[in-house]
């Protein structure tokens, strides 16, 4: 059993590395375009709501804490508390998605669309592709991140039901541990997305 647990964990870490490289490619593209359109990127980021990004950072950090507590509870044979912490994590993830949906709807109403659909008026440098490029990257990266949040919510709801049923103990808590690892990676990616998109100057 212990060997199975260790092997599963190594597999999970390998998967997380592929995730890091996926997002790494997007970060590289963002960096290159920021280098190309420095003024437009700084101007475009002013359209994002800093309070929303900051709140979402706090929400995700707290959800990471509840996720690690769920692992601790599973490992110490406290299935009900484990389920409670998992539902709390799902709840915080839901708050994150609601704030994100609000941000997107405000962006769309202002014509802040990705790529060729960009129709925002009053930009400092008229006719520049820089603004549209910024929002292409913004929606691609936060959208992919949001998809990960949704997947994490589904997985943790499933685990919460199983934890409530008493499936996990100090002998077997592999799924809780691995999903928590995935959740921490999602948090880690947001830790980089937040300053790069909301705080650049």
């Amino acid at each position: 059993m212990e060997q199975q647990f260790d092997t599963s964990k190594i597999g999970m870490w390998l998967f997380l590395v592929t995730e890091v490289l996926t997002f790494g490619g997007l970060f590289a593209g963002f960096g290159l375009m920021q280098n190309k359109y420095p003024q437009e990127f700084v101007a475009a980021h002013e359209e994002l709501k800093r309070w929303a990004g900051s709140t979402n950072t706090v929400v995700l950090l707290v959800s990471s804490f509840t996720a690690v507590m769920a692992v601790l509870m599973a490992r110490t044979n406290q299935g009900k508390k484990c389920a409670m912490y998992l539902w709390a994590t799902v709840g915080f993830a839901g708050i994150f998605m609601c704030i994100k949906a609000y941000e997107y709807s405000v962006d769309f109403s202002e014509g802040l669309f990705p790529g060729k659909y960009y129709s925002h008026h009053g930009d400092l440098i008229a006719g520049s592709h820089g603004y549209a490029t910024f929002f292409s990257f913004y929606f691609m990266m936060t959208g992919l991140h949001g998809l990960h949040v949704l997947i994490g919510m589904v997985l943790m709801s499933w685990l919460a039901i199983r934890a409530r049923r008493g499936d996990f103990s100090d002998k077997y808590y592999t799924p809780v541990d691995l999903v928590a690892l995935f959740w921490h990676l999602v948090d880690m990616i947001w830790i980089y997305l937040f300053p790069l998109y909301y705080l650049i100057t």
Partner: protein, 132 residues
């Protein structure tokens, strides 16, 4: 059989450790937001990314248990970031030694000032010519 020999602390001590970690992460978030309101010139991005890296390391070491886990997981994680670093390094070496690629699938957004008479049929935005 114990699958968690590496966890010597009591569950309660562990919970306190996680809560303290969360507290540190929230403080760092407050610092990074605060620092963004002060103009350090090009130092801002360095500060923001340094704090982000500290936060990511704390999450990796404590929340993802890399500190107390079997070293093979940490080796995989670090290797991933090393390869990402190599990728980014060559990317940004490239930035100053090449002309910038132009996206081709974009319509030029409506310009506020009409192009001057005699301008090319496809107006090339002034902003895109800066670097050439």
């Amino acid at each position: 059989m114990s699958t968690h020999t590496e966890h010597a602390e009591s569950p309660k001590a562990e919970a306190v450790k996680y809560a303290a970690t969360l507290f540190v992460l929230l403080i760092l978030t407050a610092i990074t937001v605060g620092a963004s309101y002060i103009n350090f010139g090009s130092g801002n991005i360095v500060i923001a990314l340094t704090i982000a890296t500290i936060k990511a390391s704390i999450v990796g070491l404590i929340f993802m248990h890399l500190l107390h886990d079997k070293p093979v997981n940490a080796i995989i994680a670090v290797a991933g970031f090393v390869f990402l670093g190599i990728f980014l390094m060559f990317d940004f070496l490239d930035v100053d030694s090449r002309t910038n690629p132009q996206p081709t699938n974009l319509h030029t957004p409506p310009a506020i000032t009409a192009p001057a008479a005699g301008a090319p049929a496809t107006p090339v935005p002034a902003a895109d010519q800066r670097k050439e």
